[in-house]
Structure formats: C-alpha cells, structure tokens
Symmetry: D2
Subunit: 346 residues, 4 copies
C-alpha cells in the first residue's frame, strides 16, 4: 500500500482527493492535514465522510509527514508548498503539488502574476508539469510534480494539438472559459455566497488571470515560439465543471480533415480524453464526477476560424483526479486506477 | 458473470442502473431496453456514457430477454411490468421491478391509488418487498422483487424503528417530504422545465400521493395494526436527493434513550444506514451519488413529539442502488458490491 | 415627502427596503446606514443600484438620524435596535424595526430564545406587532412598530383564520417551513456558500428556531389559550421565497365549507392575500418579488387533518415589503403604495 | 389609454409583456392571444397573475385584433407574424414584432438562416429595426417595428460604438455569449428540463446561430463595410440574463481614452445604458428584471485587444422591455414609462 498524506485536505480539492484515494485499492491515507481544522474529525467537516473518514486532522508539518508517507499531496495556497520544500523532503517522498508553485519555469513570471516571492526557486527546474496525456514520460521518474490548474488543463487539452501541428495561428488564440463555483474554494467570502453566485454570470480576472502564463508556457512549447493569448474566465452558477470555448484562425489551406487528424493523432489511445468529433459540443454534465475531458470542435468557413471546445470536472481532471493519475504514473500503477468512476448524471 | 437486462434503461432511474451495473464486477448488461429510443445508441441519449456504453437500445421484449438474461430490471411506467409477467419469465430469470406494480399486497389498494387495473394480480402474493435492511431474509430466495419507491424508502427507514418498538403513536405520524427533480423523470413536461422548477418550491399530490399506501402498508406491519398517515411531497430545485421530516407524538414515558436505542437496535451493522444521532439533521448533499441513508432525530419536550429525519439519493438508495443491493442479496453476493462509491460533494 | 432612514441598509432586507422605497412616490431616503460599509457608495455594494443610489453609507447613529428623518427602518441584528431606543427618538420619528427586539410581549421569552438581555424592555409594551392584515387598527397610531419575521408572517397568515374560528385543535399544529437562502443574510459564512447550499436541502433549528415563540404568541391570541407548536425550518437552494406546509387536526364536525368560509371571512378585501382555494398548492415562484401571500389548503378525510399552505417572498412580505406596508398604514397612505409590482416569473 | 393586443402572450416573452404592460399607466391590454391555451384564463397558465389577469386567452386573429387595438405585439414563432401581415392591418394599428421576421433587410439572408420562405417580403423595407438607443429617430414614425433579438441587442450595444468610431478591426470580432434558459422558451423539450440544464454549461449553434446575421447587418452599417463575425451562444443554468464577452483587435494607435470616449459619446444621456467603465465587468444579476444594459470593457496591452462586455435581462431589454420602450417612442410617450422598475437582487 502506498501511504499518502494530504496537506490542505479540508479544501474542496483536498476533500476530492480524499474521496478518490479512499476508493483507490493501492493507497492508504495516513495524514489528513489542515490549517483551519486541526484536531477536528475530517467527517465533521465533510459530512459525506461520516463513518468513512473519522480521522482527526493534523497540522501541516511536511517534515514529519515525509517520515510517514510515500507521497504527499499539497492542496494549499500559493507559496505554501514551495516554502516547505527542501532536499530532505524530496529525498524521502514524492510530492504532488496542486498549487501553482512549480508550474511556471520562469520564476519571474511566477512572481509577477502571483505577486509573491518564490521561496525555493532552486526546485523549479526539476519539477515536472503534470499534464499526463502530454508529458507522461517525464512524469514517470519525477519526485516533484506540478499538478496543472483546472482552467489550464481544459484550455491546453483543447488547443495543444492544433498548435503543435501548426494548423492554427497561435497569435489569434482567444480562450473564453466558464467555471463552476467549487473552483473558488471553500473560503467564506461574500462573493461566493449562494445568493451572489446563483442566477448570475460574470467574467472576472479579464486579461489578468493567473492561469494565463501557465497556458502560454505550454502552448509556447507546442508552437516552438512565444505564444501570447487572451484568456477570460467566467463564474457560472453550478458546482463543478469547466467549459472552454477557444477560437483561432486556421492557417492557409488547412482542412477539416487536418484538424480531425491532429486531434486523433494526439489523443489516440488516451482513456481520459474523449474526442466527440467535429460539430459536436462538449457539456460539463457529461463528465461530472469523472476524470474525462471531452473535446469537440467546429470549423467556421465564413471566418476561417476553428472553435475548439472542451469540458472537464474542475475537481477531478482539473485537480484531484489528475493528481491521482499522476501518482499512478509516478508509482508505476495502472494509470486509471481509482479513476474509473463513470460520470454521474443527472 | 450475471447477465442483466434493463427495460426502461433510458429513463433517469434506468440510466442510473446502467451507471451502477457498469461498475459492478460481477455483472454484464446484455440488454438496454427502451420504448422511445429503439435502435439508437445508449451513449447518444446519455452523453456521459460516450465511448462507455455505445450499445444499441432494443425494444422491451421481456420474453426474448428472459432467454438471454439472469436478471431483469424493469424501470418502466406503472402497469407495464405486471402486464408482461408470466410463469415462463419467472421460471427463467429473476425480476426486479422498480415500478409500483408488486409493492402493494392488496390489489384493490393498488387499483384505487394508481387508477389502473392490475393485469396479473396472481403474482402479487409471491413478490417480496425489497426494503433490504428490513426484509433481507425474504429477499434472498425470491424470484420477483418489488423495489420500493424513493419517498417510501426514505419515509419507512426513518419511522419504522420507532413504530416497531412502540415508542410513537402511529395515528399521529405526519411525513413531510422534499425531493429533487430527477424523481419526476425525463418526460418532456412544461412543469419540469428548468425555468418552472428553479427558484421555486411547492407541495403536490397533497393527501393523494401514490406512495402513501405503500408507506402505510409497511408501518402497519410494524405496528401490528392499521396505520394511516399524512404524507406530503414537495418539489425542490435540485437534481437528486430526498429529505424526509416526519413528526409523531411519543408514547407516555418514552425517553430520549429509548428512541436512540430503538434506532441502534434496528440498524446495528447496517452499512448503508448511517445514524447521525439525536439532535443531528441529515442533509441530502452528504449522501448524493451513494447508497447511504442518513438518519437523525430531535425530541421536542415542549410538544412531546419526536422529529425523525432521513436523507437519501432518490436515484440510488431510492431506486437503482437499492435494486442493485437487492440483486446482490438475491444472487448471494456481497451486499455492497458495486455500491461502494462514496457520496460526492460538492 | 416622507424622509426615511435605514439602519442596516446593506443587508439583504435593507437593500430590498432601498429598492422598494426608491419606487415609492411619497418617500425620500435620507440615510443609508451601515455598520460594515461606512463611507462607501451604496451602489458599490449593490451593483443593481449603479447610477441609481450612489449615496454614501453613513454610520448607524440613531439620534442624529432622528433629527433628519420622519421614519427609521432598522434592519439590524437582534438587540441593536432595542439598545438605541429612547424617548427622545420615539418623540421625533416613527420606528419600524425589522429585527425581533419588540415582537415578543414577554421579555423573558425573548431573552430565553435569543440568549441576550433586552436593554430597553420598557418599550415592549407600546410596540405594535405589524402583521398588517391582522392588526391594522393598532398599527395606524403607533410610533414603534415590530415588523414580523419572515417565517412567522407566512406561518401565521396560513393558520390564524382556522385557529381564530376554532376549527382546528391548536395542540396539533405542526408547521414545516421551507425558505430560500436570502433569509440567511449576507454574512460571509461557509454554510451559505453556493457549493454548500446548492443541490441540498436540510432542516435546521429543529424544535429550537427563534420564530417559534413569535408564532405561538399570535396563535395564542387567536385561540384565547396557550398554543405550543412544532416549527421546523428548512433551507432550500433558491434565493427568495418561503413555503409553509402546516398540519392540524380538524375539530369534530368541521366541514370543508367551514374551512373555506373562515379563510374568506378573515381575508375578504385584502389586496395582498390571495386565497387560491381548497385543493390548491401555493408556489413561491408565483409571488416572487411581490408583497403577495398565496394561501391554499387541502382537507384529508382519511386522517381528518387540514393541510394549510402559504407562500410569500421572504424579502418582501416577509421583511421589507411588509415594513413599507406598515409605513403606509402609519402615515395614512394607500396601503399598496410602492408595493404594486407584480410577481416576476420566470 | 393605448389599447394593446398580444399574440403569443403565453410564452415567456409574451408573459413578460403582460407583466410590463399591466404596470404601464397608459396602456390597457385588450387581447391575450395564444395558440395553445385558447379559452383558458391567463392566470391559470401563469400563476403570478392570479387575481391580476384572469382574462381568457383568445386565438391569434390579427385581423380581428387590428379592429380593437392601437398596437399589436407579436411574440410568436418565426414566420408567423409575417404570414399575417397585410396593408389592412398596418393601416389600422402599429405592429411590434418580437420575432425575427422583419429584422433582416436581405430576405435571402433571412431565408437561408431561418430555413423558411418569407411570406410577405414586401414589408421588410418599411420595417424599422428597433434598437432604441441607436435608431430612435426612425422608430418614432414607423408602423411596423422589428424588435431585436436578445443576443443581438446585447452584442450590438457592446460593440457598435467601437466599430462606428473605427477603433477596432471588425474582421477580428468574436462574440462569446451566455444566456439564461428562459431564452429557450416554454416549449416542453427534454433538453430544457431542469435536470438537463442545471449543473451544466454548453455551447450550441456554434457558427450557425440565427442571431449572427442580425448582428452582422447592424455592425456592417456601423463599419460602412461588410462585417463577418464569430458568434457562439452558451446555455447557462439560470433563468434570466445574457452576458456578452466580445473580443476585437484595436486599430493601430488607439488608446484607452479613445475607447472610453467612444462609449461615452455613443451613450451619453441614455437612461437604459449604464457604462461601468474600463476594467469593470458587468454581471447579469445587477440588471435582472430591469431594462438596463450594463457595459464594461478591458484593454489588454499584451495582445492589443479590447474585451467588450455587456449584460442585460433577456426577457426585458432583450425582448419585452425593449418592445415597450419602442412602443413608448412610437406613441410619443416618455421612453421609460412602465420600465422604471429597478433590478431585483438577490
């Protein structure tokens, strides 16, 4: 059994990790870490785990935890995981960080977008960006994994194949994303109250959201040249789910067949990527609760643009599910272990 | 492998059966029956099963199906399962009926509340009422199982122990129930449109809902004397979940300890019943997607009443999950097989 | 023009008062009071008032306000209005208190249920309980008005006529109430976050909710003898609306006609009470945004009980709307002035 | 009093017209037209109008209606209004058509996008496109008014000023729109059931939605040259509200001040357009129930694009409210008459 510890287990992403790991046959959770709920029973904080996870939450002591665990998941605020990182920890356990601390290779970009100083930039280099379907080989051997953001995963999976194949002009990429509210976390803020979110839709962080440079870095890799995009997130009155609607101009001469081929070539054999095909629109309800990402696209001959669409569950493929998928890869397990639950509808 | 066929697989309860059975290691679905979608791919009707259940829906031919399957689930309108019942079918397969056709022992009560004639009353006698935690022994050997209604399961599980133990006056029982909208089915009706259900709550079927006699029949068994109740269902703007708030006067001298003891005695060792205890209020979100029923209660010394509360997922423990639990019992499997998924929150 | 000041204008009930008073042809708001948002523009806190109410919020200084205003509305936490009450204020302005401070005539009941000491019990006696349709005459001349609670208004309007007419046994009254989430206020609490409230229903405050003694006091008046009830509130995933489902045993010999007559006799000519009639179920959507209360009832001959149902908008008839209605009565205006907006659907 | 008749009064837009016109001091509704509910009481179809509009629905006889009314609103399916249009009708009454029949000047574009033949193209020429803030002068004298679509109104109001002022490159315009579900109408379709819409977001009609040519026609006018755009609508789990997020590349040398100036120049003095300013994101909740359109924008120096955002209530400014505003202009009334209700929140 792999012994897993979770720092930040009492946030939404952390609790989703608990749910997934409790259903994973090769894993035992040995540490429910929390900042706000130390010494309280986990099941008292999340009633769904009543009689299932009555464990008492511990503080977030990564050094102590490194002695007990084989893998540590950090679902903690930006800067926290990095502040605890050291050679001693990394020599003992594998770390899967769900925060943004090790996602961006250029520390100055991190510091500019997150407005905090990175405390341990020396580990950025070795950290592997854990978008499983794209970087599986690098993930296998790593000891420090940067789990991608929710918007990012959805955005990159939709656009990467066409950028990589040179079918679209990267300078024309516009990503309009819509997210359920669990992405905003469990903090007690007026803006996230039921009456404020329900019966409303709004954009936020326009031209300034922190997932922008993360998307750009990966698309830059795909394009082989710097990519700058527009990324606009929106808050939708639902709990889970991210939908990305991305636009780009097709390069001269690109056909519908080229586009389809690029998607199929990229994702052939991928269990968690479901290509709906051209003319099909993914919907968040069809992936809810699962680790799937659904992708569809439309080509508009009137404007010569392709509209790339993708949907995933922000707490699963957008956070905890992908973290487990990464763990499976890192530990040489079946990649889908613990992640085979089908989407739940309605 | 147990070969299972589903008649009515394209309703919400039927599709939930598909979801659960696809995750059941001992079952193979051999027949996706449908009235409205014959010859269409199941995954085209429920996009969550894209690439998972691309099977083509067949008609609802129970005789043909009886040749192929070991167990048939009928998630069909009232009267339909009964109309297809015959000795030949029952001699070949086990039938688990999710409709109301074989729930009521008194055919005249059935015909009065459902306003239809029962076509095969001769099978009512042998049918077993499948409330697993109460009638497990009878379920084991049966070949025709009447799967309880959603409101009914929730109502009976909350009130049965106190009636059975003689702690409450059955003539004072009032059950106020609240249900999510999936209980209304997938039929295209104006009253179930998003804009009609959202931002609204209403009672319906007041003093006339068909689940009333079903609850009364079981409580009558528990009381050993005829029980007549008030049952009031309400429609809540959410997808899944039933909450029951039931009221009754305590018999003279009954203490809080007596009440707690009765619950614990009834449900000791039951995996799917979670007793939250006195003073605790169950919430539908804590059981969503799971087969659990959560039960809590409050004693009001000012009025000498006990308020009994229970919550379940109407599509799981209230329909498909309990059907699978019944199948597990009938086939001698671990009762929780295929039903261990934890509740999903948020 | 009547000059109105609002203490607590930045809560949901306060903001609803602003909305209604801005549409009232005889009123001018001279004071937007707030505890948390002093010196901020009201429209910055509630974007719906952008360019409409750009007024700057002031502190909650009742003495200063009493010099400027003709009427003061207090939509403030329990105990606050009472703590500011004095003869000087009452000699200058009329006070309409939306909190519970002056609703209960027995100060010990107040202190027991609200767990705070009443600072100015000497004004309880003169305060008038402002349930307009029942106590209009007393309201006319008063200077200190206790505006009823939301659950209370809905509960009393449904049950009062039958208690008063002696048609039901008051000792059998059970009130099962369901409320939208705006009733919980705009405070930043985890329990009121979108993801916690949505897709959930729960009871809370069972046998202990503070609106219980308020209902009991009024029904005791109606019955002419002490009435003790069960009152159970529930939280529903919607923004506005309260639905009450109340149960009671009919007295011997009472007919359906008696029940209908009692309702009609009580509410004849009342603009804001809409009697749907026997067998009809009110729905919160049909009153949303309006000051109406819809009432329907069902008689169950099987149990000899009557189920009394009522629906209102908790922020309008349950709070701000009734406060304006009371103001209209106190100032001799048309009672419906500023309250004629029709319910908005969908 | 202006006598108004409504054909299609029992759809959502029609019922909203009823709500607004009943609150309009100069209008009397003389005809509640309906196809599906002839001879039924309007209040039986929309319970919010209980005791308010007990009028009996009549058939949709435009000729008879033309004798009785001064203005006819048609909130009917595409092709219907056009099929009833004739000189006799137009000589007697003013017609405000909420369908698309007279919005597009080029009949072949209409027939191509709507897949129906236009029965009375001879009236297209004289019809005036009723986007009040842009074409007020033309509206004044007209007898046949084409009321704009909901998506269209929101899209044009956000983008028109910058196109007109030549600040953005029209060939780069991409409009990503999100709508509440009332826009889908009250038809009984599986896709609009609560359980299908709730907890979901999807795009639909990608690169093929019928509002596209309507937007293009108006922007072409503004640009003085043909404009072709991408328009992508999305369905959001809420009742009312449209949010538009539109993208375009700024022309060389355009400054933030230029953009702000263009908006202010276009909408100066417009009561129903609220410019939130640069860096501000409109939200549908702040306009719900009102005739306002809120507009904000962000300039992204990294990509040299401007993100233009607008929010309105699809049933008010997007349908019935703008129809009433048009009526006010056509009859020489105060343009805001009957439309002064403030947005309702929460």
């Amino acid at each position: 059994m792999i012994k897993a510890g979770i720092l930040g287990s009492t946030g939404y992403a952390g609790a989703e990790l608990v749910r997934l790991l409790l259903g994973h046959k090769d894993v035992e959770i040995v540490w429910y870490g929390s900042k706000s709920y130390v010494d309280q029973a986990f099941a008292g904080i999340y009633g769904n785990f009543f009689r299932i996870a009555e464990n008492i939450c511990k503080g977030e002591d990564m050094d102590a935890l490194a002695e007990e665990a084989d893998v540590i998941f950090t679902a903690t605020p930006q800067g926290y995981c990095a502040s605890l990182m050291n050679e001693s920890v990394l020599s003992k356990v594998k770390v899967i960080d769900l925060s943004a601390d090790f996602r961006l290779k250029d520390v100055s970009v991190y510091e500019q977008w997150y407005k905090i100083m990175h405390p341990t930039p020396q580990y950025i280099g070795e950290a592997v960006y854990g978008l499983c379907e794209l970087f599986r080989e690098d993930i296998r051997g790593c000891r420090l994994l940067a789990n991608p953001g929710c918007y990012t995963t959805c955005s990159i999976l939709a656009t990467y194949p066409l950028v990589k194949a040179g079918l679209i002009d990267p300078s024309t990429i516009i990503i309009d994303a819509k997210s359920g509210t669990s992405g905003a976390g469990r903090g007690a803020k007026v803006g996230n109250l039921f009456c404020e979110v329900n019966e409303n839709i709004k954009a936020y962080g326009v031209a300034s959201h922190r997932h922008t440079p993360e998307i750009e870095e990966q698309l830059t890799k795909a394009a082989g040249a710097p990519v700058v995009i527009n990324f606009t997130p929106h808050l939708v009155p639902m709990q889970r789910g991210i939908l990305v609607t991305a636009y780009a101009s097709l390069c001269p001469g690109v056909t519908a067949e080229d586009v389809a081929n690029a998607y199929h070539a990229q994702y052939e054999g991928e269990f968690f990527i479901r290509l709906l095909g051209e003319g099909k629109c993914p919907e968040t309800r069809w992936v809810e609760g699962s680790n799937f990402t659904d992708i569809g696209w439309v080509i508009d001959p009137r404007t010569n643009r392709v509209i790339m669409m993708s949907a995933l569950d922000n707490l699963v493929k957008g956070a905890a599910g992908q973290a487990v998928q990464n763990m499976n890869i890192m530990f040489g397990l079946d990649e889908a272990e613990g992640l085979r639950a089908l989407p739940m509808f309605p």
